[in-house]
């Protein structure tokens, strides 16, 4: 059976029960030290994926995540290692941010963050992949939570040092059914 293009477009919203829905995207500017994204979280979703990709850093560094304006209560464990096999572990023990939820270099940057219950008045859970796009950098995972039950609608990402240029931040929500 043949479909016209308008029939195909109409079929998408009702025919696919997607697990991930793009909530918003923000293009990252030039040489910015931080990017705040507002209006990202709501009661519509409990679990979110934030992807930051496509730009470059001014130097090799980690990327931090702050929820709302909260600057305390971040607890996380980071396991990471280099391509040469050296490894180390880092803790965020009541830190001011999740300080390794992504990484980058002049080759590019990358964040893949899963965030649970940021809007709900529950503890916010975070799991993230850390890939310094450098042959001598570290790669690893961060898992942790923010020890408060504040309802958040937005977040800020920022490099440990230097700046970010280009690329975009994509915020997706996981459908509940």
């Amino acid at each position: 059976m043949a479909y016209t293009s308008s029939q195909i477009v109409q079929a998408v919203p009702t025919g696919i029960n997607s697990a991930l829905v793009l909530i918003k995207s923000e293009t990252i500017g030039t040489t910015v030290s931080s990017v705040a994204v507002t209006g990202a979280f709501s009661a519509t979703y409990d679990y979110y994926k934030v992807v930051v990709i496509g730009g470059v850093m001014s130097s090799s560094t980690n990327i931090k995540l702050q929820l709302g304006a909260t600057a305390t209560g971040y607890y996380a464990f980071v396991s990471r290692g280099t391509a040469a096999g050296a490894s180390d572990f880092v803790g965020n023990n009541n830190a001011t941010t999740f300080d390794r939820i992504g990484a980058g270099s002049t080759n590019g940057f990358y964040c893949d963050i899963n965030i649970g219950d940021p809007f709900a008045t529950k503890l916010t859970k975070v799991e993230a992949t850390l890939i310094t796009l450098s042959t001598t950098g570290s790669y690893g995972k961060t898992v942790g939570f923010l020890n408060d039950s504040t309802s958040y609608t937005g977040f800020t990402i920022s490099p440990d040092g230097g700046t970010m240029t280009g690329g975009a931040i994509y915020v997706y929500g996981y459908t509940k059914s």
Binding site: G29, T31, S33, S34, N62, S158, D160
Partner: protein, 62 residues
């Protein structure tokens, strides 16, 4: 130093207070990196004293 911050689509210069927060965060990161490097150097010094490689020490710890 002037820093640029972005809020959604808007890019602007950081205020003095925001710039201070950025510098404090960067100083914290440098301190963390230094502490980690010191820890790794201390670990390596012990391994050198024992005459073990990192892999051999890990094998000992099982």
């Amino acid at each position: 130093m002037t820093y640029k911050i972005q809020i959604d689509d808007l890019v602007r210069d950081a205020t003095a207070e925001e710039a201070a927060a950025i510098e404090a965060g960067q100083a914290e990161a440098v301190a963390q990196a230094d502490a980690l490097a010191s820890k790794q150097a201390a670990r390596q010094a012990v391994l050198d004293k024992l005459g073990l490689t990192a892999d051999e020490a890990q094998a000992l710890l099982g």
